[in-house]
């Protein structure tokens, strides 16, 4: 190919390229739009829970302090995982690949720890007789439905986030993915943490046994 043909190709290519919207990489804008839509999804289920709770005449508040303590530990674990993910993103942007991979590995481990604590809480409640449609205390069955569905939806997001972090960690380590991918995954993980900041007070603290 001659230089003039190459130059023509470059001019044509340059005229086709547009300025990125908001000066963001497309994948970063995409994850922001996904986060907004997911926030509305969680908002809808939390509003539904709110109306069920306020409209119920025999709502049960079953969480003893041991469950609240478990919730506190889960909150600390998830907040710490957000910090480690932030460290991974900063390391990736600074070109420190091995450091970024280690921080992502730690984030994934903390995510697994959160999921383990969560499932432990579920098993404890099921052992007491709680189900999606059963209340062992004889009160409103809607508590079980709200609790297991909302926390289950959040746990699904955590699980998908852990898988995504591991995939990006491996891909970034092998040089197939960029720091942009690490940042995008980080945004999703912070969103998962942000949702827990509403789930913990509304589902656990509002249903603490006094």
């Amino acid at each position: 190919m001659s230089e003039s043909q190459l130059a023509l190709g470059q001019v044509v290519h340059a005229s086709v390229m547009e300025e990125p919207a908001y000066a963001l990489q497309p994948k970063k804008l995409t994850i922001w739009l996904f986060i907004i839509s997911d926030a509305v999804t969680f908002g809808s289920v939390l509003f539904a829970y709110g109306y069920l709770r306020l409209g119920s005449t025999d709502w049960t508040t079953p969480f003893k302090f041991s469950s609240i303590l478990n919730g506190i530990i889960m909150t600390v674990v998830l907040l710490t995982s957000s910090l480690t993910m932030l460290a991974a993103v900063l390391a990736a942007k600074a070109g420190r690949k091995s450091s970024s991979v280690k921080w992502m590995g730690l984030t994934a481990l903390l995510g697994v720890a959160f999921a383990t604590l969560h499932i432990r809480e579920w098993l404890h409640m099921m052992a007491e007789g709680w189900r999606l449609s059963r209340n062992p205390t004889g009160g409103s069955v809607e508590f079980g439905a709200a609790f297991f569905s909302i926390t289950g939806l959040h746990l699904l997001h955590v699980t998908c986030g852990v898988i995504a972090i591991i995939v990006v960690m491996i891909g970034f380590n092998r040089g197939r993915l960029t720091d942009g991918h690490v940042e995008t995954t980080g945004l999703y993980w912070h969103f998962v943490d942000l949702v827990w900041m509403f789930v913990f007070p509304l589902l656990y603290l509002m249903n603490a046994a006094h």
Binding site: A23, T75, L79, L90, L202, M206
Partner: protein, 104 residues
């Protein structure tokens, strides 16, 4: 494709302080739960604190503060509006469930 940054991002030390702040807010939420407030008052307090936590996480952990302001103004007010409207439409939906259809 390079991005333009409107504000200089802080270092890891600053984010550790943000993390400590978030945990303090979570601790305050737990303490307030056992102060004997009524359900409505506790709900309002916890929602305000949760919104503060979410705002801090959004602006600092998710770096929205360091992106172009147009991104913030395009996404956040609209989302808040949608959530606000959803909260108010729910009550109407529950009312409609109780409306009886007269048989002909």
């Amino acid at each position: 494709m390079t991005e333009t940054k409107s504000l200089r991002e802080p270092g890891m030390k600053f984010y550790v302080f943000v993390w400590i702040g978030l945990m303090i807010i979570a601790g305050i939420e737990v303490l307030l739960t056992y102060q004997g407030f009524s359900t409505g008052k506790l709900l309002a307090i916890l929602l305000i604190l949760a919104a503060c936590e979410a705002g801090i996480a959004l602006m600092y952990f998710m770096h929205l503060k360091y992106e172009r302001p147009t991104l913030f103004w395009s996404l956040i007010p609209v989302t808040i509006f949608v959530l606000f409207m959803m909260d108010h439409i729910w009550a109407d939906a529950i009312r409609l469930v109780r409306v009886r259809v007269l048989p002909f």
